[in-house]
């Protein structure tokens, strides 16, 4: 059994060690709390190796990293909310997930009990951070919205049409996923992990499968790897087609919206025929992945391209559309770096990070991160355009390999699997990380750090300084799912 080695770090070294890793260009995978006053931090080094450090303490709290590594500000707030550990020196310890309805002393992840709390009969709203002054108006939006989107509450401080500050109040979709996974056996985990998020589901399923296989020291046969690449890339196309349909909708470009939505539907119908599910739920688990017929799939990709190319020419040639996207919702490259941005949002600022370039699963695939440049809505749109075509190229190669590859012997994880590991993949929204601890074949701790969680603070940053009417467009250009992040 192969756990990842975790080095214990003294509390006076905690900050320096992590700051040095950040400066060396390492990517934060996850900051994970455990019962018994313990934190673990996992970093992905530029050479693809993972390094892990742990901090133990006595008493009420641990030294906060947030003043120096702002990207963990939300992680530490989450730990404060769910474990009751206090990050000492944190600049903004308002509740992130907790609401005034949570009973005092209820720290679900720091407790073996599986009982539901007795909720306090109060409104769920937390205090907002707003701008004060003459002429400033506070505009609250949500948690319910005018369209078919997930729930989230946004508090805007505006002056006239201009947004001065956006305070995000998310986590309305917090179900308690990590706690629900605790105590489950390896066979019971997949249906839940599949449904953490409907948009990045294959990535979540693959992370779980890889974590178990790593712990068991099982090397997935080549066929399995190609099958998973096919599923992950199919999901990327699906999610990007969705986002590419929604961005034009944000500026009322209905023709582009409807044609992209139709392509998405065509793709989903193909996935249903090939894999039995329109969103690829329940297609990957330890030792197994769903397999579609290569020839039918290649025919589907070719059919998609016939609609794709004229659509791409239309949207790229539409000056009015580009005028609406250019310069809107800017994320500066140094901010993206500082906040540990991932996925399309990071690449659109010019950061060349794509986890596929480091994933062992993709070692036989050439992936070149698509970098976009300006960091605005237009750049995020363009990065997705190119990534869809790259995914189709990868799919064609993977399907060719699959035609010849033969299935390895069936494998199921051992019943008494134990240990701790971290697994990651590049979901359509970016770096998606799972930290898994097993004991006698059952989950002791399961921490999910999806790409959207890391990128949400950037949405707030990108929104300030824009017209309030552009917020839907800016939000759609990130198209971060709430459910992953809220769990």
């Amino acid at each position: 059994m192969k756990s990842i080695a975790v080095e214990t770090i003294e509390s006076d070294q905690w900050l320096t060690r992590n700051e040095l890793l950040k400066q060396a260009g390492a990517q934060l995978l996850a900051l994970t709390a455990f019962r018994g006053n313990r934190l673990e931090i996992h970093w992905l080094l530029p050479d693809g190796n993972v390094t892990a450090g742990a901090l133990n303490w006595n008493g009420s709290g641990f030294p906060s990293l947030s003043p120096y590594l702002p990207e963990v500000a939300w992680d530490e707030r989450e730990i404060h909310d769910l474990f009751g550990y206090v990050p000492k020196g944190h600049p903004d310890l308002r509740p992130l997930i907790r609401t005034p309805r949570w009973p005092a002393g209820f720290y679900p992840l720091n407790d073996d009990s599986r009982l539901r709390p007795i909720w306090v009969d109060m409104e769920p709203d937390n205090p907002a951070k707003t701008v004060e002054g003459d002429g400033v108006t506070i505009m609250k939006v949500g948690p319910t919205h005018a369209g078919v989107i997930e729930s989230g509450h946004f508090v805007f401080s505006i002056m006239g049409e201009n947004i001065l500050h956006l305070d995000l109040h998310l986590f309305q979709n917090h179900r308690g996923v990590e706690k629900s996974l605790e105590g489950l056996s390896t066979e019971e985990v997949p249906p839940l992990v599949t449904r953490i998020c409907g948009a990045d589901t294959v990535s979540h399923q693959t992370n779980w499968a890889m974590a178990v296989e790593q712990l068991a020291g099982h090397q997935a046969p080549e066929t399995r790897c190609w099958e998973r690449i096919v599923l992950l890339e199919s999901e990327r196309v699906l999610s990007h087609l969705n986002d590419l349909a929604q961005i034009p909708a944000g500026v009322g470009f209905q023709v582009a919206h409807q044609r992209a939505l139709a392509m998405k539907e065509q793709w989903q119908r193909g996935l249903l025929t090939l894999f039995g599910h329109r969103l690829l739920f329940d297609t990957v688990r330890p030792g197994w992945s769903a397999k579609g017929d290569s020839d039918s799939f290649l025919a589907l990709v070719r059919a998609m391209m016939r609609d794709w190319h004229p659509w791409r020419s239309m949207v790229e040639g539409h000056h009015g559309f580009h005028d609406r996207m250019n310069g809107v919702g800017l994320v500066r490259r140094d901010d993206a770096e500082r906040f540990g941005a991932v996925g399309v949002a990071a690449r659109a600022t010019g950061l060349a990070f794509d986890a596929r370039t480091l994933m062992p699963l993709y070692q036989n695939v050439s992936v070149k991160p698509v970098t976009g440049g300006a960091g605005d809505v237009a750049a995020r749109f363009k990065v997705r355009l190119q990534e869809v075509e790259d995914s189709w190229r990868i799919l064609q190669a993977a399907l060719d390999h699959l035609r010849e590859a033969s299935d390895g012997p069936p494998w199921t994880p051992p019943q008494d699997l134990a240990g701790e590991t971290v697994s990651y993949s590049e979901s359509p929204h970016g770096l998606n990380v799972h930290v898994v601890a097993l004991e006698e074949g059952r989950i002791r701790r399961y921490h999910v750090r999806p790409a959207t969680f890391r990128n949400w603070p950037l949405v707030a940053l990108a929104t300030a300084g824009n017209a309030v009417g552009d917020f839907p467009l800016i939000n759609k250009s990130f198209e971060l799912c709430y459910s992953c992040s809220d769990r």
Binding site: T144, K179, L279
Partner: protein, 142 residues
């Protein structure tokens, strides 16, 4: 040519869904399903709605917004539980911040559309039952 007797305006509310149901509900607006040809549409305000379509197992944080949104829908109105989570048979029913579906958290829905997520063609068929009156009548409001 079909004849459309009644229109039905839907308001969607996400109460802790994984975003799968949202995607399939959105698919109904594409040209493949074109829900508007049946007099169905998704509206921006509960005040304009004939039915409230709820997705997700009803998280604690969305319990109060759900009640308020329902109260804002004018009578006569219908409550729809969309997908397995809302129907009370999803995988996160027992999670600590979930109330286990629309019926357990709030009140019995007039129409339950099972599936994880339900497929759009089936949703269209099920929702149209509300137009033809082929579902149990909504309980009168107190």
């Amino acid at each position: 040519m079909h004849r459309q007797a009644k229109s039905l305006q839907l308001r969607h509310l996400d109460a802790g869904s994984c975003n799968g149901c949202e995607q399939e509900l959105t698919a109904l607006t594409s040209r493949y399903y074109d829900m508007q040809q049946f007099g169905l549409d998704l509206v921006a305000s509960p005040r304009h709605a004939d039915a409230l379509v709820v997705t997700g197992p009803v998280t604690d944080t969305m319990k109060e917004p759900l009640r308020k949104t329902w109260n804002a829908v004018p009578r006569p109105k219908r409550l729809v539980a969309f997908g397995d989570c809302a129907a009370g048979c999803g995988v996160f029913q027992e999670a600590y911040a979930s109330h286990g579906g629309v019926a357990a958290a709030f009140e019995a829905p007039d129409l339950v559309i099972p599936g994880c997520p339900p497929q759009p063609a089936d949703v269209l068929k099920q929702i149209r039952r509300l137009q033809t009156g082929d579902e149990k009548p909504s309980a009168p409001n107190p």
